[in-house]
Amino acid sequence: MKLLLTGNEAIARGAWEAGVKFATAYPGTPSTEILENVATYKEIVSEWAPNEKVALEAAAGASIGGVRSLCAMKHVGVNVATDPLFTFAYLGVNAGSVLVTADEPGMHSSQNEQDNRNYARHAKVCMFEPSDSQEAKDMLKEAYAVSEAYDMPVLFRMTTRVCHSKSIVDCSDRVEVMDKPYEKDIRKYCPLPAFARGMQVKLADNFKRLEDYSNNSPFNYIEDNGADIGIIGSGVAYRYAKEVFGKTVSYLKIGFSYPLPMEKIAAFAKGKKTLYIFEENDPIMETEIKAAGIDCIGKEKLPAMGELTPDRVRKALLNEEAQIIEPNPEMVLPRPPALCAGCPHRGVFYELGRRKDLMIFSDIGCYSLGLMPPYNATDAMICMGASISAGHGVQKAFDIKGDHSKKVVSILGDSTFFHSGITSLMDVTYNKSNTLTIILDNRITGMTGHQQNPGTGYDLMGEAAPMIDIEAMVKACGVKNLISIDPNNLTIVEEAIEWGLNIEGPAVIITRWPCVLKKFSAQDNKEFPTAFKMVATVDVEKCIGCKKCLKSGCPALAFDRANKKSGILKETCVGCGVCAQICPKQAINVEVR
């Protein structure tokens, strides 16, 4: 059966075909749809974990327990999961286990462009790199066989273009794999130094055997077109090479990329006048091939940052540029993402943006947009959970310097709080800090497309789940000053911020209002009966055209330049009422839709 699948859908299909029984992930672009699709196969127990470290530990546990497991995350998520990864490599597996890393050459939706092929080398785990959806499915199945034959977890590198591109996949049936019996074996599963030394030797031996596998793997193959120019390529970069050069060069396609098939590479290189290395991001293959004494060309000609798309390849190697039709640049207006009409973050950023006495440390989520106009609120961000802990550090620095001109506000969402904000909040209370933390609880993981989390009351399989209480969690972290508010009421938001800033010691504000794009649960309907059922209209008689409402940054507003009056797009507005509260002339009315 042939299906048109994204790479992420193909991974899910491959997991199902490979007999995987347990899968877990924390959502993150471009990896999110892997678990969403895995969860559609009833034979696989599928979970959202609170963070990537927890996910990988659960997957490692399922492997030890005797069933094939899958774990998926975005590239920076692997940073969170490295602690278990490095030692899981020592333990090895019982049933096969694969960790999918979804890297982001081009940084379409990420804060950095790290190349997680480095982790294969660093953690000493082998790696596959598919270049399209068919390979994603086929290699994933092979990865389980390799994981079990060589007793190690497998790192599986996807990239955005492979994750989010669709191509045709020839599918087959699920193969039920025998569960492995669990047997207590402390020499295998307890890495005390005495045992870990033995594990290291075992791992090295397995890598030695993997060199043979790599040289003979069907996923490392030569396409000999009789040319004296050769290209060694991995991932989608191989596809880009073929797009540009077709049959005019010969190829060595690398699908199993660590350890590299050095014998096959040496044989391929023999007699080639020029050898190019096609790999996105770091010069990893290039460095290892050069270290083996094989002359090749890589990053001195090809870009080391961003994607290796065909147009960039043509420019770099052929000095060719397409003839393009350019629009008048002055007419093209950028269209960056914006907080949605009805977004519960709007009121908070409107109020924060009005103050000049704050240093705002934000976090990873839709609220990253708080740095944009018209709010211009945010000062800094680093990674998941850093708002609270990095904010703590900034406040300590201000205190040490005796600088009281600004106070730190840390801001993050519910899912990010569960991910890694809790430990950071403990840091704040335990170390007697003096920051204000605002937890924007929109009852869902918003930016990645509405995944359930420990606070929503539902799990990935769609079943009811215990709802973790953020308030109780905050109190348990030792916070004495805590209030929960409706973020759509600007007076309350303003007063709450003022209250929090005047407290000596840690304070927490929790805003609780659902994401406008969320599919409401029964609980949401009960708790927020009026949410998004209203609409705002402008009374043009009262509107003086002062444009103050536009400071809300709401995409439902439109200013009529000819008549100098504000207007509201009825089909976009959901009646949150933020603009109506900003209006100094009470010219905006909110009523039931």
Binding site: L4, H164, T309, P327, V332, R335, P336, P373, L550
Partner: protein, 190 residues
């Protein structure tokens, strides 16, 4: 055959992804090799979105290079202007005569230019479609995307594929007839 390149651009929420899904499904069932690339992420938050569709005998890259699209279909005028560089010199652009203001216009910092169609028309072969208006006339503004799909199918000479069957398999039963009507309206309009 040489690989053909179709670019669909719009604003998050306009239905470009469903249009591209129907298009690629039909192309696959017609026996072509097909690849499609999309950038997700924050697109739901009102940003620009694009779907890049390629088909032929053996498609390698999932992305379309600038200066190489046979057709660019813009669901919104500004997105059409922004995507001009995708077109090859002999390519064709179809633009839905609809404006969606970016935030800078909404907050009054910039003005949405009123001569976008003239600008495009002065540089490439342009066909303007009133797909949003046509969709409203059909009774549901959402089928604007399928009307534009119809215009792609006609422009690329793909009318032999059984699109009604593709629609029947991929949309809810109660919207089947409406979408087929929309598709035909789009095909008849170019």
């Amino acid at each position: 055959m040489e690989t053909k390149n179709i670019v669909l651009v719009g604003v998050g929420g306009q239905g470009t992804i469903l249009a591209a899904k129907l298009l690629t499904t039909g192309l696959m069932e017609a026996g072509y090799d097909v690849k499609m690339s999309e950038i997700h992420g924050m697109s739901q938050r009102g940003g620009s979105v694009s779907s890049l569709v390629r088909y032929g005998d053996d498609v390698q890259s999932p992305v379309i290079e600038i200066g190489s699209a046979d057709i660019v279909v813009a669901f919104e005028k500004m997105e059409g202007l922004r995507s001009l560089e995708y077109l090859k010199p002999t390519g064709k652009m179809i633009v839905n005569d609809t404006e969606i203001f970016p935030l800078s216009v909404i907050i009054g910092v910039t003005t949405y230019p009123d001569n976008i169609l003239d600008e495009i028309n002065s540089k490439v072969n342009l066909r303007v479609m009133s797909a949003s208006k046509m969709a409203e006339e059909l009774g549901n503004p959402k089928v604007m995307n399928v009307i534009l799909l119809g215009s792609i199918i006609k422009s690329m000479g793909l009318t032999d594929i059984d699109w009604e069957a593709i629609i029947a398999d991929n949309v809810k039963a109660q919207f089947k007839d409406l979408n087929i009507k929309a598709l035909q309206a789009g095909m008849n309009a170019v």
